[in-house]
Symmetry: C2
Subunit: 217 residues, 2 copies
DNA sequence: GAGTGCTTGTGAATTCATTCACAAAGTAGC
DNA sequence: GCTACTTTGTGAATGAATTCACAAGCACTC
C-alpha cells in the first residue's frame, strides 16, 4: 500500500479511535520538536497508555504509514495525522457567551497553535457588547445570523448558561454551522448533519466521586 | 428485589454507564423541579439520546428501582442515583494553578450545587500567592503537602501549564489524593489506585474537525 | 377477580472494539 | 546474498457494550 495517498475511511471510524489519533499526534509533535526521526508503535503505545496492536489498528483504518522493521517516520506520520484530523487547514471559530469560560477559551493559546482562529465572540448582555475578550470583539447576538453569512465560521463554541444552550444551538444550526463545542452541562439535541461535542465537567467530576465511593478503599 | 438496598456493583461498571447515570440524574432533577412524580425508561432515553433498554440495563447493575407498568419514582430514583454516584455527601476540592481556567472553575456555581466545596487554590507564582480567586485563598504551592495533611481534600483539579502537569500529578499522588480532574492537554501517568479524568478540549475540537473533513458535505 | 394495557428487568443475540498472533517486509551485519 | 533480527499490517479470536425480545409484575376497569 501507498503511504502517501490517504485511504478514505471505508467504514465509520469509532470516536475512541479519533481520540487516540489526537493523542498520538501530540506525542509525534513532541518527538518532532526533539528531532527524533522514527518511532515505533510500541513507543507510541507506551506513551499513550494503550497497546502497540491498538496503535497499528487505529492507523490501518486510514492507510499504511510505517516501514516494517523500522517504525514510522515522525514527520511523515505527523503530517498524515494532521491531514486525517482535518488540521491541515485553518478553521474559523465563534464563541457564543462572553462569560468566564468564554474568556478563558478566548485567551487559550492551544487553539491558535492548532489553526483555530477565533473570529468573534457573541453575547446578549448589553454591558458586554462592544467590549473585547482578549482582543476579540464582543458582538451583539442579534447580529449573529447576518455575521455568519459574511464570515462563514465553521465551528461554534457554546459557553452560555445551560438554560439557553438548546435555544442557542437551534439558532446555530439554522445559521448553517455544522460543528459545535458545547460547555453547558446539558444534553443537546441537534440535526443529524451536525456534530456536537460536549465538555461536561460535572459529569467528569461525578465519574471521580463514583470511583471514590465504589472502587475506593 | 428491593429498591432500597443498593446492590454493590458486582462487576466493574463501564465508564459509559457512569456517564449516562449522570445524564439521567440531571433530567430527574429537572423533573423533580417540575413536580413530576414518575418517569419511564422510555422518557429518560428520549431525553438522554439513548434507548430505553439501555436505561434499564444501566440501572440494573445497581438494583431494581422501578415499578412495572408504572415507571420510576422521580424522587426515589434521584436519591438512588445520587447515592450511587457518591453525591450523597460533600467533597473537598483543591484547585492547583490559579490561572484563567482555575478562575473560571473557582466561580462555577455548578460545583457548589453538587456538594463540591473548594477549600483552597494553589499556585507557584509569587504574584498570585496571598490573593484570592473568587473568594478562595490562593496559597503557596510549597504548603501543599502540609495542607493536605490538615485539610484532607479528596479531589484535586489540575489547571497548570501542560509542561508541569505530570510533576504536579506526582506530588498530588504522593500527598495521598486519589482523584484528579485534569485540564492540561496531556496524557498523565498515575498510580493504579488513583483515578484521573482529563478534560481535553483540543481533543474534542479535533473530533469536530475530523467529522467536518470526513463526514462533511 | 379476571381481563387489558403498560412498563420493568434480564437472559440471549448481536454489534462493536480490542487483543492476539503471525506472515510479510524491511534493516543490518558479514 | 544469506542470516538474524525487528516491526508492521491485518485476519481471526476474544472480550465488552448495546440491543432485542419477552416473561413477569403492577395498575386500573368493569
Ligand atoms: N465557569 C466554569 O468553570 C464552567 C464549568 C463548566 C461548565 N460551565 C458552563 O459554561 C456555561 C457558561 O459558564 P460561565 O461560567 O462562563 O457563565 P457566565 O455567566 O460567566 O457567562 C455566560 C455568558 O453568556 C451570556 N449569555 C446569556 N444568554 C445568552 C444568549 N442567549 N446568547 C448569547 N449570550 C448569552 C451572558 O451574558 C454571559 O456573559 C454555563 O452553561 C456553565 O454551566 C462553566
Ligand atoms: N484557558 C483555557 O481555556 C484552557 C482550555 C483548555 C486547556 N487549558 C489548559 O489548562 C491549563 C491552565 O491553563 P490557563 O489558561 O489557566 O493557564 P494560565 O497560565 O492562565 O494559568 C496557569 C497557572 O498555573 C500556575 N502554575 C504554573 N506552574 C505551577 C506549579 N508547578 N504549581 C502550581 N501552579 C503553577 C501559574 O502561575 C498560573 O497561574 C493549561 O494546561 C492549559 O493548556 C486551558
Amino acid at each position: 500500500m501507498n503511504s502517501q495517498a490517504l485511504s478514505p475511511p471505508v467504514k465509520r471510524i469509532a470516536d475512541s479511535t479519533v481520540r487516540r489519533l489526537s493523542i498520538y499526534l501530540r506525542f509525534l509533535e513532541e518527538f518532532e520538536g526533539r528531532g527524533l526521526s522514527t518511532v515505533s508503535s510500541e513507543e507510541l503505545a507506551r506513551r499513550g497508555g494503550t497497546t502497540s496492536a491498538q496503535v497499528r489498528k487505529d492507523l490501518s483504518f486510514f492507510g499504511s504509514f510505517g516501514k516494517r522493521g523500522l517504525g514510522y517516520s515522525v514527520p511523515e506520520l505527523s503530517t498524515s495525522l494532521r491531514e486525517i484530523l482535518g488540521l491541515g487547514r485553518g478553521w474559523r471559530v465563534v464563541i457564543i457567551g462572553a462569560g468566564k469560560i468564554g474568556a478563558a477559551l478566548a485567551q487559550y493559546r492551544g487553539f491558535r497553535q492548532r489553526g483555530f482562529q477565533i473570529v468573534a465572540a457573541y453575547d446578549s448582555n448589553a454591558e458586554k457588547i462592544g467590549g473585547t475578550l482578549e482582543g476579540i470583539e464582543i458582538r451583539d447576538m442579534h447580529r449573529f445570523e447576518a455575521d455568519v453569512e459574511k464570515d462563514h465560521p465553521e465551528i461554534a463554541v457554546l459557553a452560555v448558561p445551560m438554560e439557553h444552550a438548546q435555544a442557542v444551538l437551534d439558532r446555530v444550526a439554522r445559521a448553517g454551522i455544522k460543528a459545535v463545542l458545547n460547555f453547558a452541562p446539558v444534553q443537546l439535541h441537534a440535526p443529524a448533519d451536525m456534530t456536537v461535542k460536549t465538555v461536561n465537567m460535572a459529569m467528569e467530576l461525578e465519574g471521580l466521586t463514583f470511583a471514590l465511593t465504589n472502587q475506593g478503599v
